[in-house]
Subunit: 368 residues, 2 copies
């Protein structure tokens, strides 16, 4: 397992060499984790022509924040003294004779960038761009295995919640209970702040739980996901509280369900991002819900909950096999509520059985 | 209440004018919140010579993320189309004829900075530096009232936990229960990830809860805080599990308690940051615990949990009245565990009764 990080770093090293940079300074936490196998808060990774260094801030107890990396990883862990590890990396790059260093300009602040430059004035700073993010796009089977476990945990937590009494409980409490259950089942934590939306709040993307209590007749929309070994998944389901859903609820649910299924079925290697989005969007649109739709139908997941690609109308690019994405259309009717249905899936070849659904909780409209 | 944000912005506007900038682009979320009364994710604040604008990303439902601000605030809320609100702010600055715009170089990434510059090539970009952070240092009584409520909530949650059975429960579960209790008592959420450390883990700053279970004879160290209306406080206490603490536990506790009290008592307007740190550090040092001490004894709290000032050996500056800080020395003995005691206090004049202790849970060594 540890070998994989060295392979990833070599791939990046080759890419940097091809663009004329001898070294790379990786500061974005998910990218550091991807290349080093772990990222203590504030750590940065310096890829040199030979040896690589993980520069960690000292922890309050005086130890480097990270002690797990070892020679196997072909990575030297350096605790840095007080100050910014990125600046220490700049000094180190100068010391080992790196002439051109590619940095993550989309992550490094202007002030940090200047500080790196000022400790090594003869070092040419280039832009690494999204090189690591692009490398992270296609997942290997170990990464997908982590996502699969994250999804199993999430399905379990959600399943247990559905068996409990819901009426009268607040959105906040349901969200906290879900997060506790994720941890019960082995998650390292929630992948993102759990969203529980009831009644008129339901169907809003990213709704933050309030003190509103679940009432008979409500839509209840939940969006939750587990973090398992750094890999993050997402599931969203909408239920009806009470015995019989109202006609408008059944109708709206059917539309969103149909749109979500269409987008799921369009997931295949070679499919354009925008075509997946379009598959869902056109169904919502022709049902008269075109206005106020979310700007995207889904997005990549992995070490971050919202990573590339974006499944959106103007997105450029095509899906590859082994890219995990969410498919999460939703409709919100102001004042009434709405429906979101959200799955995490892995794009697979048709010969391999087509898209692999990781979040398997039923998508029937359950009346709870 | 809404008037206060306009006053804060005018103060910043005057400061910018004095340094030659006509506009300011504030992007750091806590700074946006401080100046606008709220900060939807991704929103930026543009201070112009006259009107101010809060530029918000569109939410998935098509509404601007923030609908609460109104004319009272003398602030125009602009939903931006797809893209970076900071870039939209650059365009707007150009449109309204701003010539020099101060930006937060310690927050804006190199890539965003370049994007702002490229939509408005004739706009001179200057550095706002830590102007807003410095303005946030001294709190008004409304801010302190929020911190006081946050501390009350935290004391309640901790008090309830102490009344429950602890032996056999895991660090993770105790942490989750504390966070649930914070919300029960009206918190908007935890101020930071709750730390529960047992046995050999106790006394480590920033310990993340594990699956280790509480055992008889353990030290149990808890660090928790509530978020109330955006204001964040912190309390840390260490307990002994079982009937009678061991001698080494009593001894270590006494040393840390004495150090914490000395630092608390040294809090007064005009006291140098480093002298407060020194008051605690010298006691731990002369008791033989000088090595491996945390780099700081405390820090400011407010809209962020770790803000200025830092109470550390090399910190420059002096305390003012109405600055809330933590005082949190700790000692960790590798393999055995340790003690941390952490309070949130507000610096006050002696005539006003001296430092105001917000977190009032007892600091006796309780055997639970």
């Amino acid at each position: 397992m540890s070998e994989v990080y060295g392979v990833r770093r070599d791939r990046l090293r080759d890419q940097c060499a091809a663009t004329g940079s001898v070294g790379a300074l990786v500061s974005r936490p998910a990218n550091v984790r991807y290349l080093a196998g772990g990222a203590p808060p504030g750590a940065v990774l310096l890829l040199g022509p030979g040896e690589d260094h993980l520069l960690c801030p000292r922890t309050p107890t005086g130890d480097p924040a990270y002690g797990r990396l070892d020679e196997q990883l072909r990575l030297t862990v350096l605790p840095t003294s007080a100050g910014d590890p990125a600046v220490a990396a700049g000094e180190l790059a100068r010391t080992v004779g790196v002439e051109s260093l590619a940095v993550e300009e989309h992550h490094l602040t202007v002030a940090r960038h200047r500080a790196v430059g000022s400790v090594a004035p003869r070092l040419r700073l280039a832009d690494l761009g999204l090189a690591v993010e692009h490398q992270r796009l296609v997942k290997d089977e170990e990464e997908i295995a982590c996502l699969r476990i994250a999804a199993e945990i999430t399905d379990q937590a959600l399943g247990e919640l559905l068996e409990s009494i819901l009426v009268g409980r607040t959105e906040r409490h349901l969200a906290l209970e879900l997060e506790r259950r994720l941890v019960d089942h082995g998650a390292d934590g929630p992948a993102f702040p759990t969203s529980v939306a009831t009644g008129p709040n339901s169907g809003r993307g990213g709704h933050r739980p309030t003190d509103r209590r679940v009432e008979e007749g409500d839509f209840l929309a939940v969006c939750v996901g587990a973090n398992y070994r750094g890999y993050l998944c997402e599931i969203g389901r909408t239920f009806v509280i009470g015995t019989t859903p109202a006609d408008w609820q059944i109708e709206l649910y059917d539309i969103v369900f149909t749109a979500q299924r269409a987008a799921r079925e369009s997931l295949s290697p070679g499919a354009a991002y925008r075509d997946v989005d379009h598959a869902a969007r056109q169904i919502l649109d022709s049902a008269g819900h075109g206005e106020g739709l979310p700007p995207l139908t889904g997005h990549g997941v992995g070490l971050e909950i919202d990573e590339e690609p974006q499944l959106a109308p103007a997105a450029m690019g095509k899906l590859d096999a082994c890219v995990p994405v969410t498919v999460e259309p939703g409709v919100h009717l102001p004042g009434r509520g709405g429906v979101r249905i959200d799955d995490t899936l892995v794009v697979r070849q048709v010969a391999d059985g087509g898209p692999e659904l990781l979040t398997i909780t039923t998508k029937e409209l359950l009346a709870l």
